[in-house]
Every structure is written in C-alpha cells, then in structure tokens.
C-alpha cells in the first residue's frame, strides 16, 4: 500500500496506462500545463491543448475512438458540457445501438464537478444524475484515491464511453487553482479523507456498478456519491452520538448502479436517506426511490440534495449544498417519522 493524493492517483494511472497503450492520447483545454508531468513524459503529440471548442473536440473523441484510439478528453468543468451535449446525447451514447452492436467508442471524458469553493451556479454543478438519464453512458464518481485509481483503470479498459467525474474538492489542483489561489485568507470545508489515502501497490480495475459499504449500521441507510459520502460519514459520527446507527453506501458509479447492494442495505434498515449534490428533481435521488419501490421494499425515505441553482455567496452556498447539518437533520427527521 502506498499513500497518494487524488490527483497523484489519476496521474499515476494515466502515466502507467499511456506507457503501456500507445492508443491513449489526452486532449482538452490547457492540459499541457494542467497535466505538466504527463506532458513532459509523453510530449505534445499525445498530450494536446485544444481550442475552446468542446463540441468539436468531444465529438472528435468519439470517432477517434471508433477508429482505434483510446482518447481521454478533458472538459475542465462539467458545466461546460452544455456547449457539447450533442456529442453525448446523440452520438456517443447511441453508437452501440445504432450500429447494431457492431461498433463502440471507447473513450473517457474526464471532467470535474461539484461545489464548495464559492464559484457560484455556473461552475459548480454536479449533473451526474442528469448525464445518467441518457442510456448508453457510464458515469463514474469516485470518492477516494483508491477508488479514483481503480475506476480510472477500468474506464481506460472499458469498451464504451465513460464519463469520469472528479469532485473539485478532492483535488489539490482545483482547490488551489479555483479556491486558495495562493491565499491563506480563505477556508474550505475539505473532505480530507477523500483527498489523500492509501492505494494498492499495483492498480487493479474496480468493476463498474459495485457500490462500497463505507460503514455498516442498523437504523438507517444513507446513500451518496462523491463528496457527499464524506459529508455523510461525518454526519454518521454525529448521528451516533444521538444513538442512530447509520449504514453509509458510496455508489461509486452512478450508471450503472449497484441495485443489489442498495436493496440489501435499505431493506435491512428500512430507512433510506439520499444525499446528493446533484439537483434534487428528476435525478439520482428519484432513481433510488424507484429502485427500492420496484424491489417492493417498504422504507422510509428522505433526501438531502441541491434543490436549486447554487448561489455565489459562500454562506448561501453552504446552505444549498448538502452539508453535515442538513444530513443529520434529514436523518433525525426520518427516524422520527416511524
């Protein structure tokens, strides 16, 4: 076991797989300097800066993959996918069906998501549930360095499009470059346990659709993903003090989802709280409700999500994103209900 930061993990897996597989190239805006180490090792032919043309270069990643490459394409923030959505909605996701199962596009779209740095509503969305609505896309949201590495390793071997989402707060790079920016005068509620941690000596793929049980408990199941997992784990400690024993599940991949693990955990506690930094309506929290109802599980259910556009003000932002306090409150409310 080694200890690594989230960023180092991603770089390590990329460096290793790129060394082994010449079909992997990486492109996106500013990647040469943002990924200076990879740029140094692999040079400008395999690490390419792009124009600010997400529609063109994400679209190009698809056919490049179809023609034998394994592109890793970076769109710095998931919010920017609005200008390139056709590539996901109508091209990448549909290729396998349209070609009668004969052709697939193995590329990885790396992007960051999530809030907590005071960046307002247009630079801090999560959107994993939104993207998962489209059949044909794999959506990955790791919450620890070990998961980040194992899931990226899988993504780079997967035969279809994978959207690999990194929450900004996990990465020293984005926390520094959108948050601190050299200052000591600002403070962020960082999920430290997700930013740095032990990782295996040798990378092994983590299969998609396999949730991680982060904590077992008998009173209540909380399901989350990304930074929400860490907020939930902190809340679970507080809940323990209230005598509430919480089971915490990290989905790790939003699409596909680990239906079996979800159903098992919820049916054993009889209570489900979803903690989701993505928007509340028509997303992950709803899908989880449907899954347990479809399975015929009778459970108390609540959700702590982002209900509306994220405000810029740090104070309002903190209230809008799922935080410890809201989670504890939601959990207690759920316990009281029955």
């Amino acid at each position: 076991m080694r200890t690594m930061s989230f960023d180092e993990t991603i770089e390590d897996v990329l460096a290793q797989t790129m060394a082994d597989d010449p079909r992997i190239i990486l492109f996106g805006e500013d990647v040469q300097l943002f990924q200076a180490n990879l740029y140094t090792q692999f040079g400008g032919r395999r690490i390419r800066d792009t124009p600010i043309s997400e529609g063109a270069f994400l679209g190009a990643a698809i056919t490049a993959a179809m023609a034998g490459m394994r592109p890793v394409v970076e769109v710095s923030l998931v919010d920017f996918l609005g200008v390139a959505m056709d590539a996901l909605l109508n091209q990448a996701s549909k290729l396998e069906t349209f070609s009668g199962g004969k052709w697939k596009a193995p590329f990885v779209l790396r992007t960051t998501c999530g809030g907590g740095l005071g960046g307002g509503g247009q630079h801090q969305q999560s959107l994993w549930g939104w993207l998962s609505h489209i059949p044909g896309l794999t959506v990955v949201v790791p919450s620890t360095p070990a998961d980040a590495g194992g899931l990226l390793f899988s993504a780079l071997q997967h035969d279809g499009p994978v959207i690999y989402m990194t929450h900004k707060l996990f990465t020293d790079f984005w926390v520094e470059n959108l948050g601190y920016l050299g200052r000591k005068t600002v403070d962020f509620d960082l999920p430290l346990a997700g930013m740095r941690g032990t990782v295996p000596e040798k990378w092994e793929p983590i299969p998609f659709g396999q949730a991680a049980i982060k904590r077992s408990g008998v009173d209540l199941t909380i399901i989350s993903v990304g930074v929400g997992v860490h907020r939930t784990l902190e809340a679970a400690v507080m809940l323990e003090e209230e005598g509430i024993d919480t089971c915490v599940i990290d989905l790790r991949t939003v699409s596909p989802m680990d239906t079996a693990a979800i159903c098992e955990a919820v049916s054993s506690t009889g209570r489900l709280l979803v903690v989701d930094e993505d928007y509340q309506g028509f997303g992950l929290s709803g899908e989880l409700a449907a899954i347990i109802l479809e399975a015929g599980i009778n459970a108390n259910y609540g959700r702590v999500c982002t209900e509306k556009t994220i405000p810029y003000s740090r104070e309002l932002e903190a209230q809008t994103l799922p935080n410890k306090e809201r989670i504890v409150e939601g959990a207690i409310e759920l316990m009281d209900r029955s």
Partner: protein
C-alpha cells in the same frame, strides 16, 4: 492523371438505380420516416469516394447512401437496414440516418453539422494509426452555420488534420433558401479559418475528381485540411414526399387545401401591413415552384451530364447500364427475401 469516366459513371449510375429502388420501397411503405436521397449529388460522391483507399474514413450526413455504396458496402445490407430488418447493415437499429460500417470506417448522423467533429476524430486517428490516410466529412451548405462544424474547421487547421470538408451546396436547407440565413461567401468563410479551399461544379464529376484528388493528395502528404465547395441539386428536394416539392410539382392539387386558411390569415384584422402580407403570400407561392425548378434542371443532373459525355459509345454505355440494372434488380429481390 485523368479520371476513368466510365468507372465514375458506373458508380453514379449504380447509386441512382439503387436509390430508385429505395424510393419504390419507401413508397410502398417498407421504409419509414423522411428518407433523404442522394439524387443529384452522385458526382460529388463518385469524384471523391472513388479516390479513397483502405484506411480512409468518412463522416456522413443524412444523405449517406451514395458514398456508402461507392465505398463498397453491400447494397443488400443497406437496403435491408432501411427496411429495419435484423439482417440489415446495423441490425435494423440504425436506419437511414444512422448507417455505420466499421470495416470501412464510415459513420453517419442525422444531426446537422455533426459530420464536422466526426470527420475531425477520424482524421485524428489517421494521424496516429494510419499515416497517409485521410477522412472526408460530407455536409450541406445549411450545416455550415452549425457551431460544431465551424469549430471543427478551426480544429482541423489547428491540428493540421488530414481532413477534407465537402460542402454539397444545393442552396436549400429544407424549405429555407440558405443564402437568406447565411452571411458571406462559404469559400471565404472557410479560408478565414485557414483552410485550403476549392470551389467546383458538383455536377461535373471530372471536375470534382480533379479538385478532390489534388486536395486529397495534399492532405495525405501532411499539407493540411481542405474545404471543397461543390454545387449540386437534389432532384427530390429535402426528402421523399417533401411538401415543398409536392406543392411545387402539383400546385393545383396540393395548394388548394392550404388556400382557405392562408387567405383567412391574410385577411385577419391585426397583424402585418398589407405589403408584408402580400410579400409573405408571394413567398409562400414562389418557394415551392423555385425549389422544384432549381433542383430539377436537367443540365445540373450529374447523371445526365456524364451520360452525355459517354453517349457516343452507345453500345458500351447500354451494356454497362444493363449490367447494373441486373445487379440492382437482384439486390432488390434478395433484400425482400426472408
């Protein structure tokens, strides 16, 4: 070098005949939705596709049939795909706007402009995996106002991609005169992105062959992408059964049911000035007529034009046509088999 006109004509004639079968099947209800024909753009396809080599790729728009046929894809597979049969090119799952052939590196899409990014991705893969090969992106003049296509022109220049942009300009996008919604001249626009450009009469297969050949040679040699602007017509308009053409061809029968509502609208109390109303009515009356007139000029039909050049050797011509007739007859019958 000079093109083999007989060879080119063979491809064009075969495509025309095949599409006539498609039209019959469509009229019989064996093919659904708005079937877009390549009637009229055969010379563009032939002049370019006949110069493609193994490893070259194509990104197609909604008129994919002629290039696919000319590239060597089994006509029966295409026809069965259009019929939605499980033994079609894509298992009946794609349909006429989503024809794919992995072995020929051909992809299509019904989203206007998406062949730009798709072509760029194919060309990118060519740079790494198949030096000396190239990609072709086909699209109409209406597509040239779609952002991702414009982006991909820039991307192709920035990355010096081996990509030939082929704009098949029939002057119309559905019922809209493209000039009325397009600023500047297309060739100048492309040049403004740093592309090589060439303009050609798309009904003249030899001219297309020459200018495409030159551009393809340059791009294979690493000389960068080219924009080829080819003028053409579409003998059936936007798609089979297109209302503009039905009205334009049979004004009396098709216009009569529309007249009542139109005249009621023209005389409603509030609205535009009478000059504006008259202008609208005139426009509505003339667009169908103009569209049909413009698209069905005999001397713009590449089949007619090319045939005129070969007619002196009538025996050979008739033998060739008879041979293809037999082939296509056969294709039709095979496609209908269980």
């Amino acid at each position: 070098m000079e093109p083999d006109l007989w060879y080119l004509y063979r491809h064009m004639f075969r495509s025309r005949l095949f599409e006539q079968v498609v039209q019959v099947f469509w009229e019989q209800g064996l093919i659904s939705f708005d079937m877009h024909m390549g009637y009229g753009e055969e010379a563009i396809a032939a002049g370019i596709v006949c110069q493609m080599v193994d490893g070259d790729a194509m990104a197609l728009d909604h008129r994919g049939t002629p290039p696919l046929l000319m590239r060597g894809i089994e006509p029966t597979l295409i026809l069965r795909e259009l019929m939605g049969r499980p033994d079609g090119l894509c298992g009946g799952l794609g349909g006429h706007m989503h024809l794919y052939s992995r072995e020929h590196l051909c992809a299509s899409s019904g989203i206007v402009g998406s062949s730009g990014p798709a072509g760029a991705g194919f060309a990118l893969a060519a740079q790494y995996l198949r030096p000396g090969t190239l990609a072709i992106a086909f699209f109409g003049e209406g597509a040239i106002n779609q952002g991702m296509l414009l982006e991909s022109m820039n991307l192709a220049v920035a990355w010096q991609l081996p990509l030939l942009f082929v704009c098949k300009d029939d002057k119309w996008s559905i019922s809209t005169r493209s000039a009325s919604v397009t600023g500047g001249e297309l060739v100048e626009r492309a040049r403004g992105f740093g592309l090589h450009t060439v303009e050609v009469d798309g009904a003249d297969v030899e001219a297309v062959w020459h200018s495409a050949g030159e551009a393809m040679k340059r791009t294979r040699d690493g000389g960068g992408p080219t924009f080829l602007h080819a003028h053409c017509v579409h003998l059936e308009g936007h798609h089979l059964g297109f209302f503009l053409f039905r009205v334009g061809r049979d004004q009396i029968k098709e216009m009569i049911p529309l007249l009542g509502p139109l005249l009621r609208s023209a005389t409603r109390r509030k609205g535009g000035s009478s000059r504006e109303r008259i202008r609208s009515l005139t426009d509505i009356a003339t667009r169908p007529r103009d569209a049909v007139k413009e698209q069905t000029q005999k001397e713009k039909d590449p089949l007619y034009r090319t045939r005129q050049k070969l007619i002196s050797d009538r025996d050979r011509l008739e033998a060739l046509e008879a041979e293809i007739n037999v082939e296509i007859q056969d294709v039709m019958e095979v496609a209908l088999e269980d």
